[in-house]
Symmetry: C2
Subunit: 302 residues, 2 copies
């Protein structure tokens, strides 16, 4: 099974109470690919500048990530500078230089039209829709977004959601989008816009999946005593989630639940180190072991 | 198995986005007793004024709650007036009239010395300790507290915790008490003060139980589309938790996990209506059905 991902590729400079990193690999498409690569073949659509350090993403290619769709344009790669203080749920942006990402216009490389899953990372909903017109209908379209589009391109986002099967977003975004303080009501409202399944990421509080009017699945977060860098946790979650679905093939209730747990597993690894460092050294054995630990974390008898 | 609870008994006037209630039954000891009464025999130690509407707690006596330890003093019963806005996790106190509760000095009625469990609800840690000197050593001492004592009587609280087996408190309190933003580290620090088990209530995000250096249990919250009144949720949780332990007798890992879920079940019912209204009409069948729903909420295959 194969996955197409469209999103940002960036060089991030991040400071947290645990340390800092400068111009390290980042962006939704890279975090997603690194996480999903443990489960399925991934093709990446994105844009970088002439200064992009291609040797640093070789490990992704070695894991079967197809980077042929990486457009190299004149100019510099997208830069983001941010920091986190004690509340690790909230990033503070210090500077954003979109550079070549400013005029991103997703182009599909040869052989990119046919995919089992398409993941539309957090980009302009107009571009998200454009990508969908260029690909054959996949098994499922999975979509992320952020407050910037919820506020600024609400109508376009709602239009895009008509073609989306699974929406993944965080709790604050769900509430803002729906204009409703109750998360359960808010998520159900989003289901009424098109996506049959809504997955709500709650950071250190885990995730909730809504997949029919009354069916809800609740996943815990992995208890971590130290978080180095929360950047990319959401995209790593999406990578584990979509990757798991691609590996298991059928979108049954049971597989969807497992996918949420694998998403949580990948997010928990991502934040242990800066940038893609932890996802780079990670092994399938570690992933499966943590999956089992999630089982022990929530198990109770009858 | 029997439980002794020491705590407040109040008449609450509460306003929430869902409605309001005036001078309704409230206080930690009443919420705890109402919840625990479904599982075990409960004896109450508390104080009320001459104006207390005793006929309103008759339903508790009918469920086997022993109210002989309710001291009636000259003066008025403790009054609390509060409101909740859209953030239902945070109560805003509009007025507090301690009245007869101001000089509360717990006295044990005849036959109150011998208990399997003692629950020290949120009162002055000096009084909590005093109660412990008057009873025979129970199977377990369970203790709650609040930011008021964490700030104002820190040393006394730490002294009390030496004699406590299980500490129940909310996430903000854990972090404040430990002076540590990471909940896992903070809860482990509290374990170092005496309690072998620490249960952290996270409101709409569920609960975590820490019961050995590395063992953590994570319980979800029951997804509610509407919360009428969050008052008493924490004490109802404690009532379900301690009640379940008393019914199951042995404090095994498996029973502790079930107890956290029964605590969550009771809290979820409590907030469905104002005051004790929902706990008053509740049945054991409803409790057991919701317990099974918690199982479905978190279940995933291997």
């Amino acid at each position: 099974m194969s996955i197409l991902v469209v999103g940002s590729i960036a060089l991030d400079s991040v400071k947290t109470p645990c340390g800092e990193t400068k111009e390290a690999l980042g962006g939704s498409a890279l975090y997603f690919s690194a996480a999903a690569s443990f489960f399925a073949k991934v093709k990446v659509v994105g844009v970088v500048g002439e200064d992009f350090p291609h040797h640093k993403v070789r490990f992704l290619e070695e894991r079967g990530v197809n980077l042929e769709g990486l457009e190299i344009r004149k100019g510099k790669t997208f830069r983001w500078v941010g920091c986190y203080e004690h509340n690790l749920n909230e990033a503070k942006t210090l500077s954003t230089c979109l550079n070549v990402f400013k005029d991103f216009n997703p182009k599909l490389a040869k052989g990119y039209e046919k995919n089992d899953f398409v993941f539309l990372a957090n980009i302009d909903p107009v571009l998200q829709r454009k990508v969908l017109t260029k690909v054959e209908k996949p098994k499922a379209v999975v979509c992320d977004t952020m407050n910037f589009w919820i506020k600024g391109k609400r109508k376009e986002l709602i239009k895009t959601l008509k073609d989306v099967d699974i929406m993944i977003l965080n709790d604050a975004e769900v509430k803002e989008f729906a204009g409703e303080p109750n998360l359960i009501k808010a998520a159900k409202w989003i289901r009424s816009l098109g996506p049959k399944i809504v997955v709500v990421k709650k950071g250190e509080h885990g995730a909730l999946m809504f997949y029919s009017q009354d069916l809800i699945f609740s996943a815990p977060a992995y208890p971590l005593e130290s978080v180095s860098d929360p950047t990319g946790a959401g995209d790593s979650f999406a990578g584990g989630f979509v990757g798991c679905l691609a590996r298991l093939k059928e979108m049954t209730e049971s597989n969807l639940r497992k996918a949420v747990i694998y998403g949580s597993v990948m997010a928990s690894f991502c934040v242990e180190k800066f940038s893609l460092e932890r996802l780079k050294t990670l092994t399938s054995e570690e992933i499966n072991q943590r999956f089992r630990e999630f089982g022990r974390l929530v198990h109770f008898g009858r």
